[in-house]
Symmetry: C2
Subunit: 350 residues, 2 copies
């Protein structure tokens, strides 16, 4: 077949002749793969927007379309499971595009020998999450691979949502003076997974924050908040989300570490495990870049919603800058530059 | 977590306490999983239509939405590869809904250690297949799992297409006297995979028939052919496709074995391997149920298209019948009842 292969592999072979776990970590190597391989191959505006999904017009409507595969290990963890995650993750990506989620697909890959009860529990969980999020699972596919050729089960969900407003919500809409809001405390999902995987016990059980944030995002949109961009803070955590947007938008951002809510038990667990909470994954947290004049109103809406009770202002876009630099003032007043996650902190977090 | 689990596992535990390869084979066990687990859990009209995708109205347009995961082994085979398959398979499912394919998503699961060159070749192949089929890949996701936790790579593609006509194309639209047309010879994809996997050599290399059939399907629709249902003949082959539709539509079907085109080398390979070609997978073949008065015109359109040169009439819907029975008259005049594939003839064919 090699004679048919005329795409020169654009990723420097010397550095990455093979796929590393970090290529799926949502940080630097994931972005290199996107930038050096996927974008040049499938060159189109929607992919180049580097948003959580594609947004396009069809007939008289504007739609969003997104996909995510879920390979979380273990399948069940405090606060959720792979089924819950597979619905909420895709619902949230649609919401981050400004779309009201409507329909989901599910592509399930099962390992031969998986107990039927596990599949039933996951399907039950998907059904409940879909009902909560107000979406319908309308099409699906099941494949089975031989024992040892997958790890219990993987789920892909893709989603279609409708944009019922005229806002343009995308990284390149972010401009200087935009205020960055966060809907609550960070790091719980990553720590919940890690604790389960490693058999760690903390004084209180830390549960994943997995939740559908579409309803909150739609409330903000319906209230007329001028949102320029939103991003849910999954793989790579808060830091990777902010840096991604700064780089895509070509802006510099200042963040204030002391404003970021982190639960004491999560902070403690991070210290024990050697994690920086701004890199730890969440599944129900997002940031919104809003027009300064709308920031207080947006914050009030967030705080009035069950999924935004601890919402706060965590930073501001200071200027246009190709560097995409993110500066963070620490609790003791020092300033450091925040980078995307590099390497792989916690594989298979979602 | 067990206290949260209140869905009584609806699949009889005695028969299927664990997932078997056959649950992904596209035959009886796949259908039991759909009927006993997925349909009751996600209860909605679109899923219950048991079509190749969901069809729904949004704004002033009618859309189709479909998903498939591709786990084919080996990744490369004569005539195609997993990337080619991942684009064509989903394009074809949209076409079978009567939709012109527009946008695809790609969710790629990679095994740690996969050579970067393999990924590049597959991406290149996806890009070429997308260009040929006239679709854009607009959103994607990449996950990496540890070495030994997946088999090189799995790809999910989901697709959105638009229906530009008023036909209702679905299994329950099939009625007595409908003529069943097939666009060409069957069995090449399955035999190509099997030969590669088992290192078999035949006199001439048998190549997969993988191809995008959307253009041909759209030509038939645009010509005003009254199509009642279409189905591409992948897992489970021609037999499973016909039986599925007969059961969903509640009709009885007569087929004529001698009318089904099978290449001599494919027939020979099937005999050596002990396969019945009507159960062997295809990736560029479909059946269309059309109004009798339109059958000849439809056949002429098929035969005028590069992907339908050997198209033929293979059967007819004889009557309404809850049995969903499919009778096949053999070459020597005997009649047998055709069933869906049971067990797993050839795992990971797509």
């Amino acid at each position: 077949m090699s004679q048919d292969f005329d795409l020169v592999c654009p990723v420097p072979i010397s550095d990455y002749s093979h796929i590393l776990l970090a290529h799926g970590g949502g940080g630097k190597l994931t972005h290199q793969l996107i930038k050096n391989l996927f974008l040049p191959a499938f060159k189109n505006e929607m992919l180049e927007a580097q948003h959580d999904g594609a947004v396009f017009n069809l007939g008289n409507i504007r739609l969003a379309f997104t996909t995510d595969s879920y390979v979380v290990s273990p399948l069940f963890f405090p606060g959720g499971d792979i089924g819950h995650l597979a619905v909420n993750g895709t619902v949230n990506d649609l919401a981050m595009c400004g779309a009201r989620p409507l329909y989901l697909s599910a592509g399930i890959i099962l390992e031969e020998g998986l107990p039927m009860e596990i599949l039933c529990r996951v399907v039950d969980s998907m059904q409940k999450a879909a009902t909560t999020a107000g979406v319908k699972l309308v099409t699906g596919d099941t494949k089975v691979v031989e024992r040892g050729k997958a790890d219990s089960m993987f789920i892909n969900t893709s989603g279609i949502g409708i944009l019922e407003h005229n806002l343009k919500i995308a990284p390149h809409q972010v401009v200087p003076n935009d205020v960055i809001l966060l809907n609550g405390d960070i790091g719980r999902h990553g720590i919940a997974i890690m604790a389960t995987r490693e058999g760690l016990e903390f004084e209180s059980e830390i549960e994943s924050d997995t939740a559908p944030i579409a309803d909150l995002a739609m409330q903000m949109i319906r209230a007329g908040i001028e949102i320029h961009c939103m991003r849910d803070l999954t793989r790579g955590g808060l830091a990777s989300g902010v840096v991604e947007i700064a780089e895509s938008a070509g802006v510099e951002i200042d963040m204030d570490e002391s404003s970021i809510p982190i639960r004491e038990d999560v902070q403690g667990a991070c210290e024990i495990l050697g994690f920086d909470p701004i890199y730890v994954a969440n599944e129900g947290r997002f940031i919104a870049f809003v027009k300064p004049a709308d920031a207080q109103k947006a914050l009030d809406i967030m705080r009035g919603h069950p999924l935004g009770a601890d919402a706060c202002r965590i930073g501001v876009v200071t200027k246009t800058s190709k560097s995409g630099r993110v500066n963070m003032t620490s609790k003791i007043g020092a300033t450091r530059i925040v980078d995307m996650i590099s390497g792989e902190q916690l594989p298979r977090i979602c």
